[in-house]
C-alpha cells in the first residue's frame, strides 16, 4: 500500500473516531432534555440491574444498623430501670418521651407505612432518598414522608417495591405552611447556602402586617392537596428578609434534618383514603419542640427523627 493510501486510511479512521465521539456527546447532551418519565425509566433500569447489588448492600447495612439501634434502646431502657432506683421521676419522663415517639406510627393508623431510608451518596443525589416500599404496598406519587419529628419530604417516583423521594432541601420542594393557630399562612422552601451544607429552611410569603416570634411552631396547612394539615415543619428562628409593605420571610429550624432520617413513615393510598388533618397526631411532638426552644433558644434541642 502506498504512503498516500496509508495516509488516507488513517485520515478516514481518525474521522470515524471523531464522529463517534461527537455522536456520544450528542447523546449525552440530549439526556437532560428527555421527558422526565423516560429519564426515570432509564435510571430505574440501571438501579434495578447493574447498581442493584450496591443498593442491596445499603439495605442490609440499614437493617443491621436498625438492630444495633434496638440493642442500644434496650440497653438504654435497662439503664433507665437502674436509674429509676435512684430517681423514679426521671424514668417516668423518659418513658413518656419514648412512648410518644413509638406511638406516632400507631396513632397514624394504616394510612402510613414504616419505611427505611437509603441514600445514594453520589453526585446529584443530595436531596433524594430511596424508600424500601413501593406500589406493591399501596404507595403513590406525592405521598408525604414524615418522621417522628415532623415533615421530611415527598415521594416523587414509585416502583413496585421501591420508591424515590425528595426531602425539603430539594430546590423544587414547596409546602404550604401555617402557624399552629392557623392565623398566618406562608410556604416553606429550601434556601441555598454558599455551600451545599449551608442550605436552610425558609418560610416565605408571610404578609407584612404579620410577624412571627422566634420559637413559634410551623405546621403544614393542608393547602395544595399534597400534605395533610398539621405536620410539624419547623420552628421560627429569625427574620430572614422583609419587603417593605409587602411580605416577610423567616428562617426556620427544621423539625427533621433529612440526613439523620433512617426510618420514616410514608402515606399510602389516595388522598381521600388518608386523614386530612394530623394536628392531633403530631401535636405532642410539635409542642415538645416549640416549648423549650421558645424559652431557651437552644438550637441543639432539636432532634432528628431517629431520636
Amino acid at each position: 500500500m502506498s504512503a498516500y493510501h496509508i495516509g488516507e486510511h488513517e485520515e478516514a479512521t481518525g474521522r470515524r473516531k471523531t464522529i463517534t465521539a461527537v455522536v456520544i456527546v450528542g447523546l449525552a447532551l440530549a439526556l437532560p432534555f428527555m421527558p422526565a418519565a423516560q429519564q426515570q425509566q432509564l435510571a430505574f433500569l440501571l438501579r434495578s440491574s447493574v447498581l442493584r447489588p450496591f443498593v442491596s448492600i445499603q439495605e442490609g447495612l440499614a437493617a443491621v444498623r436498625l438492630h444495633a439501634v434496638s440493642t442500644e434502646e434496650f440497653q438504654a431502657r435497662l439503664d433507665s430501670m437502674v436509674s429509676a432506683l435512684t430517681n423514679q421521676g426521671t424514668l417516668a419522663e423518659e418513658n413518656g418521651r419514648l412512648r410518644k415517639l413509638l406511638d406516632l406510627s400507631r396513632r397514624l393508623g394504616t394510612a402510613y407505612l414504616p419505611a427505611s431510608v437509603l441514600r445514594a451518596g453520589t453526585a446529584g443525589s443530595e436531596s433524594m432518598f430511596l424508600l424500601d416500599v413501593g406500589s406493591d404496598h399501596g404507595l403513590r406519587v406525592n405521598a408525604p414522608v414524615i418522621g417522628s419529628g415532623g415533615l421530611i419530604g415527598v415521594v416523587r417516583e414509585v416502583r413496585a417495591s421501591m420508591s424515590i423521594g425528595m426531602d425539603w432541601t430539594h430546590p423544587e420542594f414547596r409546602a404550604s405552611a401555617m402557624t399552629m393557630d392557623g392565623e398566618i399562612y406562608g410556604f416553606v422552601r429550601a434556601e441555598r447556602g454558599l455551600f451545599r451544607e449551608g442550605g436552610r429552611m425558609l418560610l416565605d410569603g408571610i404578609p407584612f402586617h404579620n410577624s412571627l416570634e422566634p420559637g413559634m411552631a410551623i405546621v403544614t396547612s393542608g393547602l395544595g392537596g399534597v400534605f395533610p394539615r398539621g405536620i410539624t415543619v419547623g420552628i421560627v428562628d429569625q427574620l430572614a428578609a422583609e419587603t417593605a409593605g409587602w411580605r416577610r420571610s423567616y428562617w426556620l429550624r427544621p423539625a427533621v434534618f433529612p440526613g439523620s432520617a433512617t426510618h420514616v413513615l410514608v402515606a399510602v393510598g389516595t388522598m381521600s383514603e388518608r386523614p386530612t388533618d394530623l394536628t392531633e397526631v403530631m401535636q405532642d411532638s410539635t409542642t415538645q419542640r416549640a416549648g423549650p426552644i421558645a424559652g431557651s433558644g437552644d438550637r441543639d434541642r432539636l432532634e432528628g427523627p431517629g431520636s
Binding site: I24, L51, R119
Partner: protein, 160 residues
C-alpha cells in the same frame, strides 16, 4: 498480565469501589470520587471515541441516582473522557508531576462541566463550589488516585 488488561481491571475495580463506598456504604462526600479517577486512568489507553463511550457509561451510572439534574454527570464524564483521551496526543508525560496534574485537572474539569450542566437554579456559587469545594475534592481524588495507581501499576514505569 498485559497492560491493557491490568488497566481494565483497575478501571472496573475503581468503579465498583466507588459505588460500594458511595451507594453501598452511603459515605457520600467522605469517599473520594473514584469514578472520575477510573475514567481518567482508562481513557489514557484508548482513542477519543472509546473515551467518550467510557465516560458516557460511567456518567450514566452515576446519573441513575440523580434527583437534581439527570444527565449532568453523563455530559461531564463524556467530555472528560474525550479530553483525557486527547491528552495522549497532546502530552507525552509519565512523571509523577504529570500524573498528579492530570488527575487534579481532570477531576476539577469534571466538576466544572457538571456545575455548568446542572443549571442556574441548582448550582452553588462558583467561588465556594468550584474554587473551594471542587478544589478540595480534586486534591482528595488525586491523592487516592495516585495511591491506587501506584499499588495497581496501571500507569507508566516511573510512577511504579
Amino acid at each position: 498480565m498485559s497492560k491493557a488488561l491490568r488497566v481494565s481491571v483497575v478501571v472496573v475495580g475503581l468503579a465498583v469501589l466507588h459505588f460500594l463506598l458511595h451507594v453501598g456504604f452511603g459515605l457520600g462526600d467522605v469517599a473520594p470520587d473514584l469514578l472520575t479517577v477510573a475514567l481518567l486512568v482508562g481513557v489514557r489507553e484508548v482513542e477519543v471515541g472509546w473515551g467518550a463511550g467510557i465516560g458516557f457509561v460511567l456518567g450514566l451510572l452515576e446519573d441513575a441516582f440523580a434527583a437534581l439534574a439527570f444527565g449532568a454527570s453523563t455530559v461531564a464524564m463524556t467530555i472528560v473522557g474525550i479530553a483525557g483521551a486527547r491528552t495522549r496526543d497532546l502530552f507525552v508525560g509519565d512523571s509523577l508531576v504529570f500524573l498528579v496534574s492530570y488527575l487534579f485537572v481532570g477531576k476539577w474539569l469534571r466538576d466544572l462541566v457538571y456545575w455548568i450542566s446542572v443549571g442556574e437554579d441548582i448550582r452553588q456559587p462558583f467561588v465556594e463550589s468550584m474554587l473551594i469545594g471542587s478544589g478540595l475534592a480534586a486534591a482528595y481524588a488525586t491523592v487516592v488516585g495516585v495511591v491506587a495507581i501506584a499499588i495497581s501499576g496501571a500507569w507508566w514505569e516511573t510512577v511504579r
